[in-house]
Amino acid sequence: MERYTVDGLQPAMAVRPETVDEVAAIIRLASELGLAVIPCGAGLHMDLGNRPSRYDLALDLTSLDSISDYSPEDLVVTVQAGVTLGSLNKHLAERGQFLALDTPLADRATVGGALSANLAGPSRLRYGTARDLVIGMTCVLSSGAIVHSGGRVVKNVAGYDLNKLYLGALGTLGVIVEVSFKLHPLPLARAAIAATYSSCDAAHTAAMAIVNSFLGAIAVEIAGPIPTGRLSPVPAAADDWLLIIDLAGLPAAVERQSSEASHILQRKGAGVTTALTDTQRERIAASLRDFGRANGDLSALHLRCNLLPSQVAAAVERLGNAVDLADTGVTASPGSGSVRLSWGVPPGRPEALVAAIRRELAGMGGSVTVERCPPAMKDQIDVWGIEGADVALMRAMKAAYDPAGILSPGRFVSRL
């Protein structure tokens, strides 16, 4: 039962259904009895969200683990929510295809969990996020009704696009049981380049030049100050910032991308520029994607600042006013405007620190999400940190789809 603990709350029971009908029956029963249900997959991101207001039943989806349909000619696959992304991609690789859903700890994450958490990784720059890959869903609503949205074809505007609602919803509107995705062919060639810069500003400027070019990079990430570059594959000074560019495509195109990217990086003042080996590339890509989540690197406090790409360097500077950045790590995705901070050991008075950070970034028009923190802190802050007229619509959404509040209650925005 330890495995099902959420923010220190343990449910009275856990169930692990094997079919969609069983899931529906369980939720119907929970609804009749007024039990609060939290769905889970591999349980990798259960600490996302505010503290649950109630928690009676853990709904473990890991036994819904079949690939329902795979059509390589159509680049479409339909899988149950308990299938892990690792096993799915292994299966797809046999036909030279993959699901381009780049999410932390992807190998172990289940489809349902990955979509409910909706944490996007570096290669969103090229492939988009879950909303760009999901073409159909089957979910069980709080009444126990099994409902479908979308379909199994890549072009579809029939009906309202409810697929979008369940993404990142932490199971608060319905439990995902089956998903259809559009797939991509595996690229024939891969490459990656790492470059060092003496400041975040310089690294950011170089990164934006790559992002806004027609090179079509898969991912562009910056990290620093070294040694957050315990990621660093290249010789770097302490206080240096690292810029990593991930490339893929036909071999001739990748060669061109590599040489052009290197020139741009040099022109923008790189210290050392290195082409990475395949092993280095995979290791760094995983480190960046799993930042603060991998075993041995688990955050005690993990924040994500949601900003515009152009704001990244300025945000890091402001963060430096509230935080000694050498203590934490910082990674940033200039393509998406996301800046992440991770403390291995909780700082003193973490809730005051988060408040200070939110104040520092207040004028920048974005938000700071607390993705992991000491559970006690959840009584003092709201992890989502957003407000606006749209929140009222979100409350209406929750009221419409889960009027009794039995699905993951309390964890979402506005403590829905």
Binding site: D132, N156, A253, G337, I386, D390
Partner: protein, 481 residues
Amino acid sequence: MTAAILPIRELQAIVGDANVIFRPEDLLVYEYDGTIDRGHPSVVVLPDGVGEISAVIRIARQYDLPVIPRGAGTGLSGGALASEGGVVIVTSRMRRILEVDAVNRLAVVEPGLVNLDLSRAVSELGLYYAPDPSSQRACTIGGNVAENSGGPHCLAYGVTTNHVLGLELVLADGDIVRVGGWGRDRPGYDLTGVFVGSEGTLGIATKICVRLLPNEESVRTLLAIFDTVEQASETVSAIIADGLIPAALEMIDHPTIQAVEPAFHVGIPLDAGAVLLIEVDGLHEFVEEAAGIAKSICLEHGARDVRQAEDEAERERLWAARKLAIGALGRLAPNYYLLDGVVPRSKLPGVLEQAIAIGARYGFTVANMFHAGDGNLHPCVLFDERVPGSTERVLDAGGEILRVCVDAGGTITGEHGIGLEKRDYMPLIFTDADMEAMTRLKTVFRAGAQFNPCKAFPTSKGCGEVHQGPAMRALGPDAYI
């Protein structure tokens, strides 16, 4: 059907006298869209600004009048038709580009902006707006948002919803709300995502924040000529199976060629069975190799000839032959009924064959043009509406073709929307529970029964039949409008 009282004066006070249309002869133009259906607006207003739209909606609500948002009226499912009368709110005066942020690659635009005008406006910055419906010279971004429009280049780049980052909305009660992150990630439910494609039934978008993409370095456009549709379809499947996702992959068949070649003179032999238009874009190196791969696959599957556009002018001409093909159909018949089915790509050859056979059984030629790369077919059933009973037969033929698409694992609309014409086909693909879950959104957005009523979901009592508006009926069967 229309309300007894129309608040003309109040509406004039909000938008100005010139922007309220209520005389029957003036309302005529707003009865139609791109379909064979007609509506009957009670009054049409052309507001400018979110405040005016909010005020108009509040007045309409006060008088219990239906509200129907309308962009350019090029829609292909009846979404902008006032099938139950009411106040049509036309966005054409709101067509500004409010902001362009080249560094963050986004723009904020008003709903009445014409799709192609956006790409043209940002091209000097090396940017463009990817969703490119065939009607892009006329259709509006607001209309694209309502229908989640696609277009040939959505094969590689995605449809409208993949390029909308945020919206300012006016809801059915007049409230104004901003949704989405507008270029930043935003926690919470994806309200932008559910609004896009909601066919104007949940509110009106008054500002749209869109993603822009950098222009690609290079583009190659190929025209491959085949003897049969089967060869062309198999080529499509082979290209995708080979792991090559072109930027666009379009097909037109023999009847369509008869219309398009005399109109656009691209050099397609009139006896060709089918033509594929293939476009690849990206770095020079990629484009060279990809075009070569595509050409080989075409030849392997029996292409008579594969030509490459030599310059931008030729490329434009080739694309005109596809994007303007619908208009060219007027050479073949006075009317067409355009379908929008989708099937898995691998099922294309069989479904096409069945569509043509169904048309033949009803006595109609079916001209096909479509986004072959993503399985989205547009069979055009050619007919003459002056022939008594032909409209009804055409609709029946269309229904059969849609059933074939659904049976093949597809869906009934890939990009045009359900609107009026396909609302009663929804049960082919969704259960009552599925549709009940969807219609809860109307409650969430406080949309009420009068906000673009009788669209997108099966007809309930109170929703009338459409086809042939009042003016047509008045003029009699020999008229042609």
